[in-house]
């Protein structure tokens, strides 16, 4: 057979405008637009002496001078630092301890504990805050119950330490997540080597296992510190009533407490906060640079051996059980119970206060129902669009000849350093700056845009590792048989990435469902979400409907997570 005897039928002739470059530039411009949209107005406003929309505004450092000379500034700064530090320490200790116990020891019930320790990661801080408030607040069910036994109030969450405890417990799942992944990928031969030279299990744990988890611990520490700095809900719920101000609550009150918000001051404060977060992220990058020293992933798929705890395993079991029951079970269960009662108090038998009124209130008002449908719409539509965009970013940055692919990668990771709070303010300013954007204000479009921007790095976290697993030969071979970049991306890469894209969608859906900080400055009549409505109820003192909305949000999350995991087999967080 003479294969080459006939003239080879050539691939379609080249179009005058290279569609690959057009698509790549489009992805670049969208990403750049998303990142720059909130930042530019903040930078601009921070150095203007008048509001951004005032044509008479001129350049000045006045805002920074005013910010630094605010009498409360020192206290706010100290509170924020103390809160962030406390939150981080509590979260890391709980998370690392939990990961070691569940991942590396023979503690009974570890499979169930493993699930339970991770679960709060799916739930919004706002819901956690309301749950703690309902059960452990000054008039909380548990607080009053203990008070009736011992005769005095056993604790107060209305302190910076109290807030740090609540925030620390809420953030422990993140620390747990990073460390449990590290324990799973640990190379057992490193520990066997220590054993063979005569080290005891305890010695191995202290001198080999934990040090090898160091990258995960460092990474989690800085992530938690940053999240604590930008946290609004817990400081607002527990600090608001007693006027303890943190950076975020200060900004919140500056914007919503005044008849006319001080644009310049808020921008300067946002700028200041952005600088701190960017600094921390840079520090993280520097610390992680030598992570190769700790790379332990071997070729073998063997699981590390578990450390036997002996009699101590029941102590560990009791500790984990106590934590799961009191820090997670009672908090979320109490919130759900509260939603079905008029008032929740140990002084009133529950049978006498049962009611569906809280849910009836929500059902009765279109505004409340709309916040639920809006939230679901944003999660579905935003998750879908976000996943497509993120997959394209990953492909252009890692698998194309696009000249600016390195820059695109950096740009796509930039939102990690942009707190949702700041993003909200920035986009809010952008709309003041460009009046044509105003029509977006009353739609969920603006929220979808802001959310997608915020969670590009989160989504890339699900897609990039999967992409790295796909051999470069697979797309190179498609190129040599005659497919251009876009055809290769569609027919080969996106198809092979489908499972990772499902994971990405699930992650975005959950994050969009629980997100509220970004929306606080952006929502308007017509674009309410569950989080913003809960905050409004709470400010009005309607704790019943707050609990009902929180319960609905938890329910949607549980159903969604169960459905994608069990029915579709999608992996969320590895």
């Amino acid at each position: 057979m003479a294969v080459r005897a006939e003239v080879a039928s050539a691939v379609a002739p080249r179009a005058s405008l290279d569609r690959n470059l057009v698509i790549q530039w489009l992805v670049m411009l969208i990403t750049a637009g998303l990142v720059v949209l909130p930042l530019l107005p903040i930078f601009y406003q921070a150095f203007l002496n008048q509001p951004i929309y005032d044509p008479a505004a001129s350049f000045s450092f006045e805002n920074f001078v005013r910010l630094l000379s605010t009498p409360r500034f020192g206290t706010i700064f100290a509170n924020t630092a103390y809160f962030a530090l406390g939150t981080t320490i509590i979260a890391q200790v709980l998370g690392v301890l939990g990961a070691i116990l569940v991942g590396r020891t023979d503690v009974p019930g570890r499979a169930l504990f493993g699930e339970m320790l991770l679960w709060p990661i799916f739930i919004s801080h706002l819901v956690m805050a309301f749950g703690w408030f309902t059960m452990y607040g000054p008039s909380g069910y548990v607080t009053l119950f203990i008070k009736s036994l011992v005769g005095f109030e056993p604790w107060s969450l209305y302190t910076v330490t109290g807030m740090a405890v609540v925030a620390g417990v809420s953030q422990a799942p993140l620390a747990y997540l990073y460390c449990i992944v590290a324990t799973r990928s640990a190379d057992p031969s490193l520990e066997d080597a220590a054993r063979s030279v005569g080290a005891s299990p305890w010695k191995i744990l202290v001198s080999i296992t934990v040090p090898l988890m160091r990258p995960a611990i460092i990474y989690g520490t800085i992530m938690n510190f940053v999240i604590a700095i930008e946290m609004l809900s817990i400081p607002l719920v527990f600090g608001g009533p007693v006027h303890i101000e943190l950076f975020t609550t200060y900004l919140y009150h500056e914007v919503f407490g005044q008849a006319t918000p001080d644009y310049g001051l808020v921008a300067a404060a946002a700028f200041f906060m952005l600088a701190i977060v960017i600094g921390l992220m840079a520090l993280q990058g520097k610390l992680m640079r030598n992570a190769g020293r700790f790379v332990t992933v071997g070729g073998k798929a063997t699981r590390p051996r578990r450390f036997p705890l002996g009699r101590w395993k029941w102590v560990a079991f009791a500790g984990l059980l106590f934590y799961v029951v009191f820090a997670i079970g009672i908090v979320l269960g109490g919130l759900a119970l509260r939603s079905f009662t008029v008032v929740l108090s140990p002084l009133m038998p529950i049978s006498r206060v049962l009611t569906l009124a809280n849910y009836e209130i929500i059902a009765a008002y279109p505004v409340y129902m709309r916040s639920i449908t809006n939230t679901i719409m944003i999660s579905v539509i935003g998750g879908f669009i976000g996943t497509l965009l993120i997959a394209m970013i990953a492909l252009v940055a890692n698998r194309s000849e696009f000249p600016l692919r390195r820059q695109l990668e950096y740009l796509a990771m930039a939102p990690r350093a942009i707190p949702g709070f700041i993003a909200g303010i920035g986009i809010f300013y952008a709309m003041s700056l460009f009046p044509p954007l105003g029509w977006l204000r009353n739609t969920i479009v603006i929220l979808i845009i802001a959310y997608i921007m915020r969670y590009i790095p989160t989504g890339l976290g699900a897609i990039s590792p999967a992409l790295a697993q796909i051999s470069a030969d697979l797309d190179r071979s498609a190129r040599t048989v005659g497919a251009d970049w876009w055809r290769t991306s569609r027919a080969i890469m996106l198809r092979l990435l489908t499972p990772a894209m499902f994971s990405c969608f699930a992650l975005l859906f959950i994050h969009f469902l629980k997100e509220y900080v970004t929306a606080v400055f952006l929502f308007a009549p017509g674009s309410e979400v569950i989080g913003t409505t809960m905050l409004q109820f709470w400010i009005n003192g309607d704790n019943g409907p707050v609990a009902a909305l929180a319960t609905i949000q938890i329910l949607i999350t549980v159903v969604f997570v169960y459905a994608v995991r069990q029915l579709l087999g999608v992996k969320i967080y590895g």
Partner: protein, 364 residues
């Protein structure tokens, strides 16, 4: 029609010149192998031919189509070159069946459905994989995957076939069979082929011509026989069949032979087609299988030329032959033989025509 011409190809990575002004021509239908140790630039050269890597300088043309010309600013992307590349990893798309893998390049060329079906069947039959059309790649053995990978490139009839160590992932037995089969297939199809490997036996068995590469340059480009028998420099002599090297000084030349005075005082007569200045330092390459064990001189009537007394230092049994490490004076070298001598010493004869003399460059 499809003659591949590469001129002065240059590819650098920082200060490192991975491909250093490489030029060669592959005639229409010819099978050329780029052979060399890892890091010699052979894979980089192949990537440049395929359009998967952008060289800095030179020119690549296939027939009348210019793929790359640094001076003219021409660079044709991989997908427009109409070439076939078989990857070391085979790179079969795991989400497509064998048939779909072959169908993809045909669809890109807007080939009609009936014609696609016909060509896929024809090509799969050619590589003896017709029965596996509806399997997914993960359900195939390494050898089968390799055949499908080849079929996927042949199905659209490329004017140039590039093979990047396609046999290296097969086990030794299978590799030998695949080699014979591949050679047979290439003579049938007569497509211009560039083959990259670090395996000298593969190169010798398959190629019309071999380009031995070293440090980004072509050390020698010739047919397999010449490469083996008349290596152009010590690197080629050592890389192909791993030669012994004797170091000495060139002395008088007579009847096409030069006497080389070895550092240990013995003399070695080596055939030397070119004249070599007396007094120059030279090295003499001799393949271990060309050295013969011989009887003691008492039995052959006095010490003859090119017979050396050796001490046997080490014996290694390698199945079909024994490899001996021997020492004559200061020179240590290897000898291959069927039956090794029982004694610790013996005599070897080195035929002058088995010796290749290289002048040692001053300073090295």
């Amino acid at each position: 029609m499809a003659e591949l011409v590469v001129n002065d190809l240059v590819r650098t990575f920082g200060d490192f010149r991975a491909v250093d002004e490489v030029s060669f021509t592959v005639a229409d239908g010819e099978f050329l192998t780029l052979l060399g140790p890892s890091g010699c630039g052979k894979s980089t050269t192949l990537a440049a031919l395929a359009g998967l890597d952008h060289p800095e300088g030179g020119r690549i043309a296939l027939g009348n189509r210019v793929f790359f010309d640094a001076a003219a600013g021409v660079y044709v992307p991989a997908e427009q070159r109409e070439i076939g590349l078989v990857f070391q990893s085979y790179a079969l798309w795991p989400h497509m069946t064998v048939r779909e893998n072959l169908d993809f390049p045909l669809k890109l060329r807007n080939v009609g459905r009936a014609e696609r079906t016909r060509r896929i069947e024809e090509t799969l039959d050619l590589v003896e994989m017709g029965a596996y059309a509806d399997r997914y790649p993960h359900a195939l053995s390494g050898g089968q995957q390799q055949r499908v990978a080849l079929a996927r490139t042949l199905v659209y009839r490329p004017s140039l076939l590039l093979l990047d160590e396609p046999l290296s992932n097969l086990d030794a037995k299978l590799r030998e069979r695949a080699r014979t089969w591949l050679r047979h297939l290439q003579t049938q199809v007569r497509v211009t082929t560039v083959y990259v490997t670090h395996d000298q036996s593969e190169a010798l068995a398959l190629s019309d011509r071999i380009a031995v590469m070293n440090e980004g340059r072509i050390a020698q480009l010739a047919d397999p026989y010449t490469i083996y028998e008349r290596p152009a420099d010590p690197f080629v002599a050592d890389f192909i069949g791993s030669s012994n090297f004797f170091h000495g000084i060139a002395r008088e030349r007579q009847n096409g032979r030069v006497r080389v005075e070895l550092s240990g005082g013995d003399s070695l007569f080596a055939s030397a087609p070119k004249s070599i200045d007396a007094g120059r330092p030279v090295s003499v390459a001799v393949r271990p299988e060309r050295i013969r064990l011989t009887d003691p001189p008492e039995q052959t009537g006095g010490l003859q030329a090119n017979v050396l007394q050796v001490e046997i230092e080490e014996r290694t049994f390698l199945g079909s032959y024994h490899s001996l490490q021997v020492r004559a004076g200061k020179d240590r070298f290897r000898v291959e033989c069927r039956t090794p001598p029982a004694a610790h010493t013996g005599f070897v004869e080195i035929p002058p025509e088995a010796c290749t003399v290289f002048e040692v460059a001053a300073g090295s």
